[in-house]
Amino acid sequence: MEDMYVAMGLITACLMLAIKFGHTVLVTLKARYVAQGSINALNLLNEDQMIDVITDPKRQAVARLSYKIKRDRLLSKSKIAIANAVAESR
């Protein structure tokens, strides 16, 4: 009967590991979703509104994250453009 409790403990440990991984990924996915929404919102703003958003300390973290995602996307787009140009030149 002790074996059963040991096996149950092992299964519980694995269950907690899976919950930990799942929680990590879901939180990341949610942050990305929120940042995507803030990018869409920032695209609609004019310059004064943009300055308001950037100087507001509560929104700075989100703004920074959206800037990072935007920059990554621009970089990858330019990489694709360069690769296509090289492929066409050959």
Binding site: M1, D3, M4, A7, M8, L10, I11, T12, C14, L15, L17, A18, I19, F21, G22, V25, L26, T28, L29, R32, S76, K79, I80, A83, N84, A87
Partner: protein, 179 residues
């Protein structure tokens, strides 16, 4: 206690989950979807290992205790490998999240099954155990298959619109192939 009969390799291949995941490896590799190929490959290996080892393990575990821990351990190794691939961006993020949720579901079922087998003589879990594990396997296969299906649908749309260019397929998960 039944004898463990060794099945030939062709018989192992006929297991439907292994067969479907091997077909998915072929499809995703042909469509240059690297992330889907990685996930299908690891899933096929995981199903194959579980399927080949389960008979021997059942024979050597007459008290029906360690088999549940064994299956959960195999699934945990699968999850750890997928976590490594997720860290190095070899699989899609939402796929890893979905597989984590499915694993939590599966582990929870096993955790209920073990005390039920010894304390209550399979009274509570006998009705849904096989159904739950089959459902888990089918959902894993669906999660693995979805990006490949999306790639195929994207290809069909490209053909229909007449904008299919062979060297410029940078959408639909084939992004890594460009670097």
């Amino acid at each position: 206690m039944g004898e463990c009969s060794f099945e030939p390799h062709l018989q192992i291949l006929l297991n439907r989950y292994i067969l479907i995941s091997i077909v998915l490896i072929g499809f995703s590799f042909t469509l240059k979807n690297k992330k889907a190929t990685w996930l299908a490959l690891i899933t096929a290996i995981s199903f194959w290992v579980g399927y080949t080892l389960q008979c021997d393990f059942k024979v050597n575990d007459p008290e029906r205790i360690w088999r549940y821990a064994f299956w959960v351990g195999l699934d945990t190794i699968y999850l750890l490998i997928l976590f490594g691939l997720y860290k190095f961006k070899r699989i899609e993020e939402w796929q890893f999240g979905a597989i984590c949720c499915l694993q939590v579901f599966s582990f929870f079922v096993q955790l209920i099954r073990l005390p039920d087998a010894h304390k209550f003589n399979y009274f509570y879990t006998d009705s849904f155990y096989a159904l739950a594990l089959n459902l888990y396997n089918i959902l894993i296969i669906i999660v693995v298959a979805l990006p490949t299906i999306m790639t195929i649908i994207g290809k069909i749309k490209e053909y229909k619109d007449g904008r299919y260019v062979r060297r410029n397929g940078s959408d639909h998960g084939m992004f890594d192939a460009r670097y």
